[in-house]
């Protein structure tokens, strides 16, 4: 039975561990010369894997449209969506989806107009 549970977990890319609750999420805009815009979902300091999905929408100041990048649904301790070569002054909006022990699913949103350099 336990083998089958782990076999099932291959569906979750090897996720076969108890998750923890210390997930964090943030967005950053206009970092490092104004070119880096990103949204990140991660578990630190425990570095435990969860299933995660992250989307990062970048819209230039005064613009209507914009573009988005995403980190695919994955089992990981860090889900990163961002780009490094957009020198437009942006507002970054993040979408963060993650699970917790297969019982809670969280959808969270972030907005950033600066770099939030205190975190990584």
């Amino acid at each position: 039975m336990q083998t089958s549970r782990c076999a099932t977990a291959l569906l979750a890319l090897g996720w076969c561990a108890e998750a923890s609750a210390a997930v964090k999420w943030l967005s950053r805009a206009n970092c490092v010369g104004g070119a880096i815009n990103e949204s990140v979902t991660y578990d630190r300091p425990q570095l435990k894997s969860h299933f995660m999905y992250t989307e990062s929408h970048h819209v230039g100041f005064g613009a209507v449209g914009g573009h988005a990048v995403a980190a695919p649904w994955n089992v990981t301790w860090r889900s990163y969506a961002g780009d490094v070569a957009d020198s437009t002054r942006n507002t970054v909006r993040g979408l963060h989806v993650f699970g917790d022990d297969l019982r809670f699913l969280s959808t969270q949103y972030t907005t950033a107009t600066n770099c939030n350099l205190g975190e990584w």
């Binding site: 083998t3 549970r5 076969c16 300091p45 695919p72 649904w73 969280s106």
Partner: protein
């Protein structure tokens, strides 16, 4: 190997391309779902669904959603795994797990600390609530009136979302003599319009009128974990216990529930 290659290709595409509006990707997506309100591309929906997670079933509206398993985002074998765990927990009071599946919270803390020590600027464990409070957007729930009151904190770390340099949540841990290693985590989700989905069949407890779920897991190496989670209209709470006596299934659960019900008093 080919799966790995596919994942790499998928990753590269997702990281470099603009997203296709989801409305074009899925014809039957409910208008209030997360997918309808975001730009999740069709390829990503398909990939997640193949791995047991139907993102088109994710709720787009804020707040708490308690949904039955057959309407939840879990599908296929993933849903089967959850169903099996619920049945096993209901019958035995514990879910058996393979070796190393249950997180050893004490060791995880030490190992993680060793890892992040290499990046000392990122190692942000605080010794007291007073120390971490300036970094938080909300006042942590009081532990006064619980058995945690007056016990020395092992550590406190930030959690949740970062906004204007402050976090929406935190995690605190204590060593409780005779009971075990306890970790209390909380995260506010209302301010940013977040949503939480709980699987209805896993709702097997209540904490001060709020739906709660409690689960004991034990792996082949004997590591036992009791996890209790509940959600208010503003905050997700979680209490985890790595008990001294892993065989005291009922006693450990009752101790955790009593602790949860006394929080904030």
């Amino acid at each position: 190997m080919s799966n790995h290659l596919n994942k790499c290709v998928s990753l590269a595409l997702c990281m470099t391309c603009c997203l296709i509006p989801a409305a074009h990707a899925t014809e039957s997506v409910p208008s209030d779902s997360l997918v309808a309100k975001s730009g999740i591309p069709a390829s990503e929906l398909e990939r997640a669904r193949a791995e047991g997670f139907d993102m088109s079933r994710m709720q787009g509206s804020p707040g708490l959603h308690i949904v039955s398993l057959d309407k939840s985002p879990f599908v296929g074998a993933m849903a089967g795994q959850i169903k099996q765990e619920i049945a096993e927990h209901s019958a035995n009071g514990v879910v058996a797990a393979p070796a190393s599946e249950v997180l050893d919270m004490r060791n995880a803390r030490r190992l993680a600390k060793g890892h992040v020590d290499r990046f000392t600027m990122f190692d942000k464990a605080y010794a007291s609530v007073a120390d971490i409070r300036p970094h938080l957007r909300y006042e942590p729930i009081s532990v006064s009136g619980t058995i945690l009151d007056g016990l020395p904190l092992v550590e406190a770390t930030a959690a949740g979302g970062l906004k204007d340099g402050r976090w929406s949540g935190l995690s605190r841990s204590w060593d409780v003599a005779g009971l075990g290693f306890v970790q209390l985590s909380e995260s506010e989700y209302r301010e940013s319009g977040g949503s939480i989905t709980m699987v209805k069949e896993w709702v097997n407890a209540e904490v001060n009128g709020h739906a709660a779920t409690i689960k004991t897991s034990r792996d082949d190496e004997g590591v036992t974990r009791v996890a209790l989670g509940w959600v208010t209209d503003s905050t997700v709470f979680r209490l985890d216990l790595q008990p001294v006596d892993g065989d005291a299934l009922k006693g450990n659960q009752e101790a955790l529930l009593a602790m949860a019900r006394a929080l904030g008093s």
